[in-house]
Amino acid sequence: MSGDGLLVAVDSPVHRVPAQVKLVALFVFVLAVVSTPAAIFWAFSLYAVMLVAAVVVAKLPATVVSRRLAVETPFIVFALLLPFVATGPQVHVLGLHLSQSGVLGAWNVLAKGTLGVIAAILLSATTAPRDLLAGLERLRLPATLVAILSFMVRYLSVVSDDLHRMRVARESRGYTGGRVGHLKAVAGGVGVLFVRSFERGERVHLAMRSRGYTGRMPLLSVSGATRAQWLEGLAISLAAVTIAVAARVVSL
């Protein structure tokens, strides 16, 4: 677990767009994709082309993107089941009785889910966690939530490493965790991990207090985005909104 999340550390125009712009752009893009009628196939190919272009501009290796698409797998399974469980009139494909709405639903989930995941990968691979938090702060996320998020991101690798060390220690004692009898050992370790994390949290807070923390964290972000940056970052999203509106009009 690296503290950098999924960041691919290269320099590209996409990396340089301020995080708050990217967050808004991602949100608008995904919302446009989600509200596009599933049967307007050309709209989805346009979205895909724009996303691929953005991935190329961001200099992300195709292997990285495709590997991270794996998070989608459970829903691909769900989507592939849809044609068999959904009701409605049937179509016959290769001797299989499939529900029409199910087939369309499967396509709907697959297309929108995949586009959404690629867009999210684009964000997470081009934005460092710290910038992301600064962006959320600029977008007026409540300060307490930003503080909690920043502590989580900061201590994620510490807690993960704690867990990893405890796993190494446990497995070297023979508790590899394969059998039910090992549950107590695994769960005991996790219980200790909670106590350690809790106590670390208390220590960190006391250390902050002794250094003058009064309940307000210093701002993470330094400056806002310029109008040009907003326009540059939102270009794809605005195009997506136009496509979504066009698709709606066509489908009426």
Binding site: L23, F27, V30, L31, V34, S35, A38, A39, I40, V71, P74, F75, L82, V85, A86, T87, G88, P89, S99, S101, V103, G105, W107, L115, G116, V117, A120, I121, S124, L132, P142, L145, I148, L149, F151, M152, V153, L156, S160, L163, G178, H182, L183, V186, A187, V190, G191, V192, F194, S197, F198, R200, G201, E202, V204, H205, Y213, G215, S251, L252
Partner: protein
């Protein structure tokens, strides 16, 4: 994430992706989630001022890390923890809602796990429903069980067991109003709940094991059992004994009238979603399906793209149900918000 990933392929931690629910449903659940997070921020404010955001952040990091641990839960299978009920028992419901939301936010933004528009749905299902159902069930059961700190383990076990199928039921309810495909609600609910009872058993076993480990070492850290702490008995050099009540600055209030309200709210959230799912105009959908499908079915024999005609109609249909979902979602938010506010004021009165 990959360091623990020896068995990463059987990680059942499933997040709803983008496009699974239509836009109005996503917006409605987004509003519910935002309201819940805002309310929790307010409720947890006192605790957060006292313990600092660091503690909540570290708890979130803990939940994130633990979700990747493979627990052997029997029959040769391993389970993963969702952690809602466990977090609620350990740090209290409001902080737990914040912690779970933080975890989901980080997974969605930093690890591209779960869609951004589905974030509201994910927070509502996994951050809100599991936490509230788990916590209030735990507290209700602790009222019945012997007044010992150890009672929190069986209570939270049942809380965890129930919280997962309830979240699955809520998912089925949401899907029947905001999913694009008309799967019969009964079929979907049965499948979802059936499968998630199994997941819930795993969740319960893991929650019980982890919680009993914490109770054995630091019982004072278990939020749900703080009011059951024994008084400290001090014996000085002369043999005089005196009792001191333990330091419990943010102790949970003893179970009282508020609990009934809490359980009612929880059940409402749980059951309400599936109830108003059945308020979904099946008749309208039926008629729409009749009209739309017949035409499409004929076309499909001829047209190369059998779905083209149907899709148009299906979307019109989805819009109607989506709008309904939006309206009902907001209404539910208001009602739940009022109910929780009522509960909150009851608790505050007790505190003062």
């Amino acid at each position: 994430m990959l360091r623990f990933g020896r068995n990463k392929n059987n990680n059942e931690r499933v997040h709803v992706p983008d496009g699974f629910f239509n836009a109005p449903t996503s917006v409605a659940t987004g509003l519910i989630a935002a309201g819940a997070v805002g309310f929790s921020l307010q409720r947890a404010n006192r605790e957060l001022r006292e313990t600092g955001p660091a503690l909540a952040g570290l708890t979130a990091a803990f939940v994130f890390a633990v979700q990747m641990v493979n627990f052997p839960v029997g029959a040769g299978t391993s389970g993963h923890l969702l952690g809602g009920a466990l977090a609620a028992a350990l740090v209290g419901p409001w902080t737990a809602v914040l912690v779970m939301s933080t975890v989901l936010l980080v997974q969605g933004l930093l690890f591209a796990d779960g869609g951004l528009t589905a974030l509201g749905t994910n927070i509502t299902l996994m951050g809100l429903i599991t936490v509230l159902v788990g916590y209030f069930l735990t507290r209700a059961l602790m009222k019945v069980l012997p007044r010992r700190v150890g009672s929190v383990v069986p209570a939270a076990t049942v809380g965890a067991l129930v919280s997962v199928p309830v979240a699955a039921l809520a998912f089925a309810g949401l899907y029947s109003i905001g999913g694009a495909v008309d799967i019969p609600l009964g079929k979907l609910a049965t499948a979802m709940v059936g499968w998630h009872v199994l997941v819930g058993i795993g969740e319960a076993v893991i929650t019980a094991a982890v919680l009993s480990a914490v109770v054995a070492t630091r019982p004072d850290l278990v939020y749900a059992a703080r009011h059951l702490q024994q008084d400290l008995v001090l014996v000085d050099a002369d043999g005089n004994t005196s009792t001191v009540s333990p330091d419990r600055p943010i102790a949970a209030k003893p179970a009282g009238r508020s609990l009934g309200v809490g359980v009612a709210v929880t059940l409402f959230v749980a059951g309400g979603l599936s109830l108003f799912a059945s308020a979904h105009p099946d008749g309208l959908e039926f008629v729409g399906a009749k009209l739309g499908f017949e035409g499409a079915a004929k076309d499909s024999a001829v047209a190369g793209s059998p779905l083209a005609d149907y899709g148009v109609h299906g979307i019109g249909n989805a819009q109607v149900s989506g709008a309904l979902a939006g309206i009902i979602g907001v209404l539910v938010t208001i009602v739940v918000g009022l109910a929780i506010a009522k509960l909150a004021s009851l608790r505050t009165n007790k505190a003062s």
